[in-house]
């Protein structure tokens, strides 16, 4: 009986040693860098020195083309729209479909206007705004139903058929891009007052056109050729070239960990950000970091945890057998 007790003491120490060693091994071996965009995917460039907001037109060409392309995407909401419990907050844009000066479930691109006073003169800059199609988009990766996904093309696309409209994507998007239409979607068929509240809508980079080898509607329609799409590496290089040529700045390259949309501007984005109207559906131009980056180290530990468990299991079993053989030898 004494021997068994001694054995237990030794093995407990062995167990803790093995376990802590395995944890350290796992931590050292953990990957440290999160995903970057895949080579060969698309990126877009928006050259603010070329965009004139389609002066003289009632609707900027990009906005008009986008609206035409996406007409009918939002199903007709049920009437009345069920009140989501307990807050009863309904977001219904179906009676304001004509709104074009902000993002809505019916409007996936709009043109922001920044009026600045620089060097004694007034300057006006027009900034087409839509989803940035981030390289590692939290809106897509942490959607609880994977209704939102980043495709190899680089486009981040919401599947309106499985989206519950919980707006988690809008909460985690640094620019709050996705917009909710209540009274449509799958939630109506499950627990409409208790879970979900519609469907989220946003720019999908005309993924269907991209798959056909065509150009997104907004880019195709731009009379100023202020927007470009192409292989990511080419667009990155072109953005750098243009920025260098005009002594300008780039927005979207580092923001939120990198995006597939690069704005090029002669005027610093901090100044543009200060001059634009911001609020719901009207995103800022802040230098934002990727919030999810702070979960990366512990996510890496999750990936290595099976190895830690494996090493600890093998080591402890081997240790247990070794000790038992020694004990047998003593008998």
């Amino acid at each position: 009986m004494k021997k068994a007790r001694d054995g237990e003491g030794i093995s407990r120490r062995t167990f803790f040693k093995v376990f802590s060693g395995a944890v350290v091994t796992g931590a050292v071996g953990a990957p440290s860098k999160a995903a970057a965009a895949r080579p060969g995917s698309f990126a877009t460039l928006i050259d603010l020195s070329l965009c004139d907001g389609c002066a003289g037109r009632e609707t900027p060409a990009c906005v008009g083309a986008c609206r035409t392309k996406n007409e009918g995407v939002v199903p007709e909401p049920v009437d009345p729209i069920p009140k989501p419990l307990p807050r009863g907050r309904i977001e219904d844009w179906s009676k304001k479909r004509g709104v074009k000066d902000r993002l809505t479930p019916y409007n996936y691109i709009f043109v922001q206007k920044a009026v600045l006073r620089r060097n004694g003169t007034h300057e006006t800059v027009y900034i087409p705004r839509r989803c940035m199609h981030c390289d590692n988009p939290a809106c897509a990766t942490i959607c609880p139903f994977s209704a939102n996904h980043k495709f190899e093309s680089g486009a981040v696309v919401i599947d309106k058929d499985i989206c519950f409209g919980g707006a988690k994507c809008r909460d985690v998007c640094p620019w709050s891009i996705p917009q909710r239409q209540s009274g449509v979607g799958i939630y109506l068929h499950i627990l409409p007052t208790l879970a979900g509240n519609g469907v989220m809508f946003k720019c999908d980079l005309c993924q269907d056109l991209l798959m056909e080898g065509k150009t997104p509607a907004c880019i195709e329609a731009c009379p100023q050729k202020a927007m470009l799409i192409g292989p990511r590496e080419d667009i990155m290089a072109e953005a750098e070239r243009r920025a260098a040529a005009m002594g300008g700045h780039i927005y979207g390259k580092e923001e939120n960990g990198g995006t597939s949309t690069l704005y090029v501007s002669r005027i610093p984005f901090e100044e543009l950000n200060a001059a634009i109207e911001k609020g719901p559906g009207r995103p800022h131009l802040d230098r934002v970091k990727r919030k999810m980056a702070r979960t990366d180290p512990v996510a890496s530990a999750v990936i290595t945890s099976p190895v830690v468990g494996l090493v600890a299991g093998v080591a402890l079993a081997a240790g247990a057998r070794l000790v038992s053989r020694r004990e047998e030898g003593h008998e």
Partner: protein
């Protein structure tokens, strides 16, 4: 006083005093099993709670306004906690399979006839039949183990795919992402149901003496003797014709090896009653 298997209540009377002495207890689980169980149990509960907060419900349902739960509406915080608990959950699960696999521990794996015997046991619970004599685990426990093992395997596999996607491959094949996501959601529901079933099992009176074992590693000797006579016979060495001491001395024998008290007892639980009492 030899009683028929399953006639445990009579045994309980024999134990009628304030609390059993250590002499009346025998070892059922070693420290490894206890650590595994509680690592998986505690991390599993954290995973369930933080997993629920991955749904957009905390703010909607005013959970964020409850004392101490303001963090529940911050998806990055709940995700970080979910990951942290996963490290323990996944590590402990893999350790469990590897360690007990190598050690040849088999007593909790389902056996032929467990389904039929389970029905007999359920009838026993409602007084319609007498319980059959048990090994270390009830047939229900062996089946429940298999069920929870499948659920945990599903959660771990789908969770690792999702984590990999979050870290390294947001543009992972969409079909794979959908499978992983929906498998994770489905296994989550099954995990919660399994947890409630697990709790329900200890509400059933004849099972209650086992509660002590999952906290202390030991059960009352008379309980083991009368409800688990097949296991008791093994640990007392009757099966091998030897003594209890001898039975504990063969770690090579997978069912019998007690691994020095680390994870007693597949078959042979150390007859831990200190002779002479405490």
């Amino acid at each position: 006083m030899q009683q028929a298997p399953g006639s445990f209540p009579a045994g309980r009377k024999a134990m009628s005093r304030k609390g059993p002495l250590k002499a009346d207890l025998i070892r059922r689980h070693g420290i490894v099993v206890l650590l595994e169980h509680w690592a998986i149990a505690v991390s599993g509960l954290v995973l369930v709670i933080t997993g629920i907060f991955e749904l957009p419900i905390a703010r909607r349902y005013y959970i964020t306004e409850l004392p101490g739960l303001a963090w529940s509406g911050d998806y990055m915080t709940s995700l970080a906690l979910h990951y942290a608990a996963s490290v323990v959950f996944v590590g402990a699960s893999v350790f469990h399979v590897v360690y007990h696999g190598i050690m040849g521990h088999r007593s909790i794996l389902p056996r032929r006839g467990d389904l039929a015997e389970s029905w007999q046991v359920i009838k026993g619970f409602i007084g319609k039949a007498q319980e059959p004599p048990f090994h270390k685990y009830l047939p229900e426990q062996r089946l429940a183990y298999a069920a929870i093992a499948v659920i945990i395997a599903g959660l771990v596999a789908s969770g690792i795919v999702k984590t990999w996607k979050n870290l390294f491959a947001p543009d992972m094949d969409y079909t794979l992402v959908l499978w992983a996501t929906w498998a994770h959601n489905l296994f989550f529901v099954l995990f919660v149901l399994a947890f409630f079933a697990h709790m329900a099992a200890i509400v059933i009176k004849p099972n209650r003496p086992l509660i002590r074992a999952i906290f202390t590693g030991r059960v009352r000797r008379d309980y083991a003797e009368h409800r688990h006579p097949l296991w008791f016979a093994e640990i007392m060495g009757e099966r091998g014709g030897g003594t209890g001491e001898q039975a504990g001395a063969s770690p090579e024998d997978g069912e019998k090896g007690d691994n020095f008290g680390l994870d007693a007892q597949e078959g042979n639980g150390e007859p831990a009653h200190d002779k002479g009492g405490s």
